[in-house]
Amino acid sequence: MSQISALANVHTTGQFGDYGGKNENDLLKISENKNLLIVQIVQYKDSKTLFENINIDGLKLKNEALSVVCNNDTRILWNAPNNWLLVSKKLSLMKNILDEFKDTDFAVTDLSHSRAIIEIEGKDVKEVLKKGCPFNFDILEKNNSVNSTYNGIAFTVDMLDDNPNKVRLFSLRSFGESLYHSITDASLEFGFKSI
């Protein structure tokens, strides 16, 4: 099932900002990703189940700040103690998740339709993020994630790659357009290609 775009009203393709005279490969690339399964998994406080024994798409949960465990299709982001955000290209994974995480021990919530997802790629990605968020992005490495705010908008950053830098930003769907405006405004000085 194809999901309805959260950014359809604002995301237009083309080149914007200070792109003149620059190699197209050096520009930031901004895109929307809308066909992902997003599931929040929270272990109840009184649960005795060992989450380390649970296997989802070959991945095991890790209770460590900033950590992301991943394979080519699925990424599991640490949100908080005993709280994770699973993001996957495999939309059929939901059944497997519900089978593995028993509802007596875990709260599993499908958030796929309630998030806007923006992906940015390019060497100036961290500079764009620093403009609206006081987190020290220099410590953020490949396969790290962080929850913070960008110009007051709560968002999650998932560092997909570091050569070149590529991040995936999640925000509440209703804040998606505001976040998109903030990100694209901050990207103007570097020049960006919207794809």
């Binding site: 700040a65 900033l66 908080a80 103690p81 006081p134 987190f135 929850n147 913070s148 705010t149």
Partner: protein, 89 residues
């Protein structure tokens, strides 16, 4: 900007946090007779200390956990942070 070390996430800017009041206030024990004055003290009355103070903060835009922060109310220096369930000596 003030930076607070969340015991779960690490060093984070203060704008990710929300202040939650005095962390030393104890709720009166359940099923125990208490006076109006004691109840008033628990709900409303607070000291406005100048100096080292133990406070509750919530990491609202991060891990959403409540934490305790030992902070100087005059200088804003933060000495130590604790998990909410940690006992402070």
């Amino acid at each position: 900007m003030l930076y607070i070390k969340c015991p779960h996430c690490g060093m984070r800017p203060q704008i990710e946090f929300s202040y939650g009041g005095d962390a030393t206030v104890k709720r009166p024990e359940l099923n125990k007779e208490i006076s109006d004055q004691e109840w008033d003290d628990f709900v409303y009355n607070r000291k406005s200390l100048r100096g080292k103070h133990l406070e509750l903060w919530q990491h609202l835009s991060g891990c959403r956990q409540w934490i305790k922060v030992e902070r100087d109310t005059a200088t804003h220096e933060i000495f130590k942070t604790f998990k909410a369930n940690e006992e402070v000596a």
